[in-house]
Symmetry: C2
Subunit: 509 residues, 2 copies
């Protein structure tokens, strides 16, 4: 299955690994060195996409008629297979992303991935996502049903847990009874190929062979066309705001549900009493959130809102010291490094002060100096749009408000975010301040935290990994948390006066 | 509160009836005569809209903190008030819409409206819409919360049950804890004023005065601007595909949730065995669905798919006879009449045969001759897009398929619809045919019916008044059916490590 240096890898379409109808090919790059890796991957023409869409549509009609068991068995077999290949998957994922095997890929992300798939399988079996309603008097019933083939675009920053072929969107789409077409991310294509091979081998005899399909590259225009295709039920996307909004516009024009997870700067408000009480702990938590995995999390604390004063100055000085003394981790790729350079440039043009870092690191591979930027509440309020530019990576902006009222003004200007946090004194002395800030922050974020950094996203049924635009496309849905994440890939199906023997099994009394 | 002939009515903004900042004014028209009615209504400038949005945002922040009781009490008081004014509301609604007091406005629509409001009040009290999830181990919880101010555009065809100030969107938005700004429909503005007065008077002392606001006309550009405004949480719209898609585009560009109910031609498939068995009953049901209220329902059976043969020919002849011999009811207004004229023109240009009607009725007011159009399956398949042009009003298109396979091909070309029906033999002889057609129809409609016309929309918890685009904007949601309809006007709010005393009441253990 592995490509030679001149032959791009096959794509997985209609149950077969076949040569792509390719216009071009590309390689993944080792971000730690900047060197090309061996395998070549194809950029498909529309004909490949067209075949995948046909096969997915046919698979979808079969999957809708299946009981949950074979679907759940497929997911569990696949989870077992990933687990059994922990070492080789971790090795290649690390090579492609620069994320360490330990404590990241093998210790955290792979177990999380496997757990998500198993939780989705359990929800598939127990039907907890379906919300059936039966009105016997009127002989009307309704239930959530699979929405149809789902196209999943995974991001660069989680080669397993959000991969289009193994992540949360994948697992929830399949568990809700839909075939998936995964669009592999360029930055970790070999990892994706290995996962797809395991997925393909895990498909049981009762499942359509096209339950899982994989495409690698495609032209931008073909991507826009694909998300609007009538054969597709929905789209899941995790990635940049620029790519996400372009896909959204194309999908929206034809009313195609598209679930996006895009940009988020994850504001954290530090009330003075909290810093006074727990200075060292908070400093440590903040630096960890900003620098872990080079800050390449959707939920990195990117915007710190403080209240001007001596303690805040000491806090910022402490952060600067931590950022300067910590090694800067390898970024996921050249694109991230260039994007970070651009974002820092935009923020500098808007007048922020550079307290640490601010430019590309002087070492091999793709890396950026750990960066702390600072501005005042007045400057933020003068240009809140520009000063909310996401700097994806190891960069943090501190906005120093004059007072608590200005904190409220700043929070009132925030765009939608995945998360928002407030640190406050535990002795109750800042309760009134909290009650002023909370309503403003609450309506702008999907997950509200107290005294905690937002970086970790527990796979809990109560999790909301979602939020108002531009964090996502719709604040009603979450990408993490079973069974809610499955409901994105469903439509409400009502049966009115339908003869009993023709009803879905779950609606038969 | 009633306007003189020269002074437009006041608008309801921030709890007060105030003079509009008007660019222009208009009158409702009695569609039975074409004559202008007495009252004048203003077309607001942006400044009115701006004030309403400010007041709604402030009201929203208060409503979020309220327990359910005062909200439910408001709704119940309002329902009682509407009921107590059945006679005067029905009289004016009839004058403005041409819909009869009996058996429509006073007998059916007003009781339905009151029932919807009371069901929403009950759901507000019982909290069944909120889906709380508590993960004690991780100290994370989540719950659906009000989404923020909701702008509701009601349609022309239900002056009460879908009115922006009294209909299903209104009641569900309020019951989920959101203030509503209603945009009154031009065709029944006096009815809307009377309802708004009752709503305003029903607001208790514990509720924000701006819980309910009312604007009448606004310029098209201001409507597009308003749906994208950051102060708004969501939009509900029922109306034409043209207006709905324009608003959708504006809302989508800023990721604002917009729930649309637009066009639907509600295909009905008649398998030959059903006509053979129950010819007279089916003929009668079909004619009633097509002609009741001059066919001005979202769920009128607009596209009849038959299989060519003698029985079908007799069935179509029977329909023609019914359509010709039935009086043509008054249409809701000149716009509907012109729209119907245009649609019939488009269908004629695409080659359909006119078996009955086809042009404006030769009598006072706005009316169109009951119209039956017919075409073949071959012609439909040659231009399925044009032949799905919605003809809103008393017009029905019969598509005569060559055979059952062609029925499947036709169904495969259908756009999204609110409903789809199949009539088949009850002796089981057409079960195989049903099983071929059903999967194709199921994925294209929100509500699937057997042996029943789609026209009636029961207010049942199991109802889905929704479906794939362009019937609506998202197939996961329903506009009718409590509590599901409330969930449209919510966002998922997660609390992570939030101190117990700061949690919403429903999440405190």
């Amino acid at each position: 299955m592995t490509a030679t240096a001149t032959q791009p890898n096959n794509i997985l379409v209609a149950g077969q690994w076949v040569a792509a109808d390719a216009t071009d090919s590309y390689s993944s790059i080792n971000p730690a060195t900047g060197e090309k890796l061996d395998e070549l991957f194809p950029v498909s023409r529309w004909s490949d996409i067209d075949k995948a869409l046909d096969a997915a549509r046919d698979a979808s009609r079969i999957m809708r008629t299946l009981p949950p068991q074979p679907i759940a068995e497929f997911l569990n077999r696949y989870a077992d297979a990933i687990e059994a290949h922990t070492d080789d998957i971790s090795a290649i994922a690390t090579l492609e992303t620069g994320l360490p095997v330990k404590p990241r890929i093998a210790d955290v992300e792979l177990p999380r991935t496997v757990s998500q798939i198993r939780q989705s399988a359990a929800a598939c079996l127990d039907g907890s996502w379906r919300l059936p309603v039966v009105d016997s008097k009127n002989n009307i019933s309704s239930v959530l049903e699979p929405i149809g083939p789902v196209l999943v675009f995974g991001p660069n920053n989680f080669p397993l847990a959000f991969n289009g072929i193994s992540g949360g969107d994948f697992a929830s789409a399949i568990a809700a009874g839909n075939p998936v077409i995964a669009k592999g991310h360029r930055s970790h294509s070999t990892t994706t190929r290995m996962l797809a091979e395991l997925a393909h081998e895990s498909i049981g005899p009762d499942m359509p062979a096209a339950t899982v399909q994989l495409l690698y590259g495609m032209k931008g225009d073909d991507g826009l066309r694909m998300v609007a295709d009538a054969r597709l039920g929905a789209v899941g996307f995790t990635g940049s705001r620029r790519a996400g909004t372009a896909l959204k516009q194309s999908a929206d024009a034809v009313g195609k549900p598209i679930y996006l997870e895009m940009s988020s700067i994850n504001p954290v408000v530090f009330l003075p009493g909290a810093l006074g009480e727990r200075f060292d702990d908070i400093l440590s938590e903040t630096a960890t959130s900003g620098l872990m995995a080079a800050g390449q999390f959707c939920t990195k604390a990117g915007l710190l809102i403080t209240v001007a004063g001596d303690t805040t100055d000491r806090f910022v000085a402490g952060l600067v010291e931590r950022y300067k003394s910590s090694p800067c981790a390898t970024l996921l790729g050249e694109g991230v490094m260039n994007g970070l350079t651009d974002s820092v440039g935009i923020l500098k043009s808007a007048g922020v002060e550079v307290l640490a870092g601010g430019s590309r690191a002087s070492r091999e591979g793709f890396a950026f100096d750990n960066t702390i930027l600072r501005t005042t509440g007045d400057k933020f309020l003068a240009d809140p749009h520009t000063l909310q530019t996401e700097a994806f990576g190891n960069c943090t902006l501190v906005v120093d408000a004059r007072d608590e009222d200005q904190v409220c003004q700043i929070v009132s200007k925030l765009e939608g975010n995945l998360t928002g946090s407030v640190y406050s004194a535990t002795d109750g002395s800042e309760e009134a301040s909290y009650q002023k800030i909370e309503p403003l922050l609450r309506e702008r974020v999907g997950r509200l935290l107290n005294d905690k950094m937002p970086t970790g996203v527990a796979v809990s049924p109560a999790m909301n990994h979602g939020g108002p635009f531009p964090a996502t496309g719709h604040p009603h849905f979450t990408a993490v948390g079973v069974p809610a994440s499955l409901r994105r890939f469903t439509r409400l199906a009502c049966y009115d006066n339908v003869r009993p023997g023709r009803l879905p099994q779950i609606l038969r009394s």
